[in-house]
């Protein structure tokens, strides 16, 4: 499957929480070919100071309706300009890009634990849409209650949800990895935990520690600044046990023990 470039019509674009927006695109081919963990490179509209495309994870895909959704944080001029685009207008996207999660060998007795930090929920909701076997548990970490994303989406997909916030305004006061340690301690022994994560680097590093201590495997999706997104510029590499690898091509999903911190 190779990536394609397309002008996608915006069906909706609006704020979902503090500085987070969701854009719904009509993109029939993408909606069929996208797999959880894939991303698209979005051309930012006429924004001064934003030359390069922005890499955004595919948040949901509905092949039946020919739509995909992207969830993004408004951080700079690029995403700010994107947030001003209205339904009916179109944006240019290239995708699907990247390797995606590998979840085809999952077992019926799997306990799929989705660990999300901040905007890292974006690809994990798509993964939850597609996971068919085993139980699902989403652990969401955020700065405050106002920063929590997608708890309802996960519940609708049949996920149990637990929350941690930095200030304790919702759920556990602490880190999402504190929740993870707790879950692993109390889990039912006849379920085999399988970990998927996405979030800021310190969170992923903490997951790596928990995985080592519990002799567990995990797949994590990395965020990176990208210039091309298609493997040409070699700008977004990450250090792995095999040397530098491109987040946009060999990733964005890596086995956590392949990453060098």
């Amino acid at each position: 499957m190779s990536a394609l470039q397309t002008d996608a019509t915006i069906k909706a674009n609006g704020r979902v929480a503090h500085r987070f927006s969701r854009i719904v695109l009509e993109a029939p081919e993408l909606s069929r070919t996208a797999r959880p963990g894939n991303f698209v490179m979005v051309k930012v509209p006429d924004a001064a100071g934003a030359l390069l495309r922005r890499p955004l994870s595919i948040h949901k895909a509905e092949a039946g309706r020919g739509r995909i959704e992207l969830l993004y944080e408004i951080v700079g001029p690029g995403t700010c300009a994107l947030s001003r685009k209205k339904a009916g207008e179109s944006i240019n996207v290239i995708g699907p890009l990247g390797n995606g999660f590998d979840f085809h060998s999952q077992q019926r007795d799997a306990l799929n634990i989705l660990v999300a930090g901040g905007i890292g929920v974006a690809p994990l909701v798509f993964l939850a849409q597609r996971l068919k076997k085993g139980k699902m548990l989403a652990l969401i970490g955020a700065r405050t209650a106002a920063h929590i994303l997608c708890a309802a989406d996960f519940r609708k997909l049949g996920c149990a949800v637990r929350i941690a916030t930095d200030d304790g305004s919702a759920g556990l006061r602490g880190r999402v990895t504190d929740l993870l340690v707790d879950v692993l301690m109390r889990r039912e022994k006849d379920f085999c935990p399988v970990l998927y994560g996405c979030g800021p680097k310190p969170m992923l590093e903490a997951i790596a520690r928990v995985c080592r201590e519990n002799r567990m495997q995990a797949q994590v999706s990395l965020e990176a600044h990208m210039a091309c997104g298609i493997g040409a510029c070699l700008g977004c590499v990450v250090q792995t046990t095999r040397g530098y690898e491109r987040v946009c091509k060999e990733g964005p999903v890596f086995r956590i023990d392949d990453l060098v911190w």
Binding site: Q5, A227, A232, C233, Y244
Partner: protein, 306 residues
């Protein structure tokens, strides 16, 4: 049908639109997004004798109307390039120009050139003596004598078209251009990136790991056009102009300034099909202006104001 063909040394190109080294990977990355068969030539990522893992991250950073990179010539080395990359690249039926750099001057330039000289699929060799990201104190392309000496030595090792890539980080580009020409270079490619730096003010740290990197994109286009124009007035060999070309209009500036061909660089990252589109755009421009060929535009800058 307008005539877009040009000659660069002994190399005949069906059109004058190429892609700049390092911005088009090894072509296969653009599958489904750009048809390399439509281009005048493809320039490879710079190849060295040994594999290079490149510089630490972060390697790139967006800047106003541009970007800074310090990739550090990550490449698989000449052996893997010839085994794995070149066979795929030659399938497009378009000349492949191999960009080379050396970690030990000039021996590695000579060694690489000798190997490439024997290979039919190599249409031309581009000497990258101007990469700002190799941790060298001074670039060959920043010194007229070093440039002349390097080009002269490499010239002896090949009969293939030799292109020398120049750095804009000099006080007078025409001195380096003349030195390369007089030492036997068949053509000049200009410009490489402009050295630049961006600082994260909260952290008080540079935004890329190597602190200084190479600035590219529309931000450097006026510098590039000026340097092509200056070089055009002094040298007789063909110039390949590049630096912030985003569309047909910006490509035309380079031809008018004196470039025989152009390379699209950073724009490939944003609009992967843009180089092929510029080919059609140039043809359209010639037709609209009732010009028979691209050669009528090259160096056609009019003096003074209208």
């Amino acid at each position: 049908m307008q005539d877009l063909s040009v000659r660069i040394g002994s190399l005949a190109l069906k059109n004058p639109v190429m892609v700049a080294s390092g911005t088009f990977g090894y072509a296969r990355e653009f599958k489904g997004l750009c048809d390399p068969g439509k281009l005048g030539a493809i320039v490879t990522k710079t190849i060295t004798v040994r594999p290079r893992q490149g510089n630490p991250v972060p390697r790139t950073c967006e800047t106003p109307s541009g970007m800074i990179n310090s990739i550090g010539l990550e490449n698989p080395g000449i052996d893997a390039f010839l085994d794995e990359k070149l066979p795929v690249m030659q399938k497009y039926g378009v000349p492949v120009i191999v960009s080379i750099a050396s970690e030990k001057d000039p021996e590695e330039f000579v060694a690489l050139t000798r190997r490439l000289d024997k290979i039919r699929a190599v249409a031309a060799i581009e000497l990258n003596i101007s990469c700002p990201n190799m941790k060298k104190k001074r670039l060959i392309a920043q010194d007229a004598r070093a440039t002349a000496s390097c080009v002269r030595t490499v010239r002896k090792a090949t009969g293939k078209t030799l292109i020398t890539k120049l750095s804009p980080n000099v006080t007078d580009i025409t001195r380096i251009a003349l030195a390369a020409q007089n030492a036997g270079s068949d053509a000049l490619a200009l410009i490489n990136t402009v050295q630049g730096m961006v600082i994260d003010v909260e952290a008080r740290r540079p935004k890329i790991a190597q602190a200084v990197g190479g600035l590219s994109g529309p931000a450097i286009r006026p510098i590039a056009v000026r340097m092509v124009w200056e070089a055009y007035k002094k040298v007789g060999i063909p110039l390949i102009g590049m630096g912030g070309i985003m569309d047909t209009q910006s490509a035309l500036e380079f031809f008018i300034a004196g470039a025989t061909a152009i390379s699209v660089g950073t724009a490939n990252f944003i609009e992967p099909g843009i180089a092929a589109e510029i080919v059609s755009g140039l043809e359209e421009h010639l037709r609209k202006n009732k010009l028979a060929g691209i050669k009528e535009i090259i160096g056609s800058l009019r003096a003074g104001l209208a």
